[in-house]
């Protein structure tokens, strides 16, 4: 079987860009990815476009702007996990042998404030239950109760990711925010305060994937996992109206990660860096456990130990994460791919993870869908 090579990546900064459409940002990210790969748009065999709010035929509009070459285009909507799902679809298409060059692009342009999501039925909106981060608050409140996770540990997640963002010119917020300031910010959905929550915003990112043997130093996409919620899922991203008592299945993150590790032939002990879904500080703590980076219940202690900081044993969100970049939901997963691909090629300057050879991305979306991707620098293992 041939390798799937991340031949090039591109990213339009995440932030707010008045007067600029998601499509325009997507075109820029796509062109940057093509240029990075030394490829031309007419060589692309298929396009997968992740987005949630960009309307009908978003990928088709991007292709039209780049040149209507008549290729297959699939728009992928998996809420906050759309970008990850687009990349895994691209990988599967390449592994099928049908294509040689596939472009995955993620785009988004979102209003301020709580996400307006029609995932929630009108009656849930009417009674005030249609609040995205409410579900994250439920999960971390319970985690604090069961494992003794502290508010300070939540604040340390934000402090760490903002410290990383200072070195990322494509992040929306680029200043250090000490834990004390995080703890003084206003409550939004207790125990999650304003500075523990990411900002829905705008941006785009893209990756050109190719089916061919990887050259030494190139980045291979070696594993993917995509899983969805089951009946008895731990409370959180799948936003249930009910759950049964007395049965609890493995989390969707744990199941997606298990799949990705298995098809990569790698495990959490092989990772040099992780870009994970820090929609909020609580989800980062829980996700470090569910990805197997530490034991269950130890996510708070892990961030407190400094292990997940740049320079630590396993840096988590060296890009600054969604807490610093913001979360343009269709683009965020590809933004993670952009970071990991550049880290594995040693291109991240002051935020470079020394000697990084293996990296993982993790995105969670509504409906309880989780995508995990594992990347490895070719030639890194004898």
């Amino acid at each position: 079987m041939s390798d799937v090579v991340v031949a090039g990546v591109g990213m339009h900064p995440f932030g707010r860009f008045e007067g600029k459409s998601a499509i325009e940002m997507g075109v820029e990210a796509a062109r940057e990815a093509l240029a990075d790969a030394g490829a031309r748009w007419p060589e692309v065999d298929a396009l997968y476009c992740g987005h949630m709010y960009a309307g009908t035929g978003a990928g088709h509009k991007i292709a039209a702007a780049l040149g209507a070459t008549g290729i297959p285009i699939v728009n992928v909507e998996n809420a906050c996990s759309s970008g990850g799902a687009a990349v895994q679809s691209a990988r599967q298409a390449l592994l099928s042998g049908e294509y040689r060059n596939v472009l995955a692009v993620g785009i988004e342009k979102m209003p301020r404030g709580f996400m307006d999501m029609d995932y929630f039925e009108p009656w849930r909106q009417r009674i005030g239950h249609a609040v995205n981060p409410l579900q994250f608050a439920f999960a971390i409140r319970r985690h604090m109760y069961e494992h003794g996770t502290t508010e300070r540990q939540l604040a340390l997640v934000a402090e760490k990711n903002h410290a990383h963002s200072v070195h990322n010119p494509k992040a929306m917020y680029r200043r250090e925010i000490p834990a004390e300031e995080v703890l003084e910010s206003r409550q939004v959905v207790d125990p999650l305060r304003l500075l523990m929550l990411c900002t829905p915003n705008e941006g785009a990112a893209a990756a050109l994937l190719q089916a061919r043997p990887a050259r030494r130093g190139e980045v291979r996409l070696v594993g993917h996992g995509l899983r969805t919620a089951q009946r008895a899922q731990p409370i959180g991203e799948h936003m249930p109206t009910d759950s049964p008592v007395g049965v609890e299945y493995e989390s969707v993150t744990r199941r997606a990660a298990t799949q990705a590790y298995e098809n990569a032939g790698l495990g959490p002990e092989d990772l040099d860096l992780v870009e994970l879904q820090d929609t909020d500080a609580g989800t980062e703590i829980i996700s470090t456990e569910e990805l197997g980076l530490c034991a269950p219940g130890q996510g708070g202690a892990l961030v407190e130990s400094g292990a997940t900081r740049l320079g630590g044993r396993l840096p988590v969100n060296p890009s600054g994460g969604l807490l610093s970049k913001g979360e343009p939901v269709g683009a965020s997963g590809l933004g993670q791919v952009y970071e990991v691909a550049n880290q594995l090629r040693g291109r991240c300057g002051p935020r470079q993870v020394e000697g990084a050879r293996v990296g993982l991305t993790h995105a969670l979306g509504a409906g309880g869908n989780c995508s995990v991707l594992v990347f490895e620098a070719a030639g890194s293992k004898p």
């Binding site: 709580f114 929630f120 909106q125 009674i127 005030g128 239950h129 249609a130 409410l134 409370i235």
Partner: protein
């Protein structure tokens, strides 16, 4: 305004049909007559066994708070007061349900608090709608 409905009128409109019993007040779930799987709100098909016969059952009016949060800014589609609390209530029926949580002092809510069911009025586009809550009873 979110206020307890002490006298739900005959014309009161539930926020969603089939989820509330007004008198005596209770939350209605669906139970599969084949496998007993309990869901709130009721589904048309049993997601456990595929059974097609779902009976409507009233859930327990007493439970405990499994987790919760206080929402401090109004989300899309909501016209009631802020702040307000939403939680997950564990019921002896073997199900946890997401519900609005009412208490004299929201800041004092804690996991494990005993709660009891009550009806609640929420603003709707064409007048108030009947919703539901669990009130802290400790």
């Amino acid at each position: 305004m979110n206020s307890a409905l002490t006298e739900p009128g005959a014309t009161a409109t539930p926020v969603l049909s089939g989820i509330l019993r007004l008198d005596p007040p209770a939350l209605l779930a669906g139970r599969c007559s084949a496998c007993g799987d309990l869901r709130f709100p009721a589904m048309t098909l049993c997601a456990g066994c595929g059974g097609e016969l779902i009976e409507s059952v009233a859930l327990s009016t007493e439970g405990t708070l499994y987790t919760f949060s206080i929402v401090r800014m109004a989300p899309p589609g909501y016209e009631g007061e802020v702040p307000y609390a939403v939680g997950v209530v564990e019921l002896p029926d073997g199900i946890r349900v997401e519900a609005t949580i009412v208490a004299a002092d929201l800041e004092a809510l804690a996991i494990g608090d005993p709660v009891g069911f009550e009806l609640l009025s929420v603003p709707g586009p064409e007048g108030p709608l009947v919703s539901f809550a669990y009130r802290r009873t400790a």
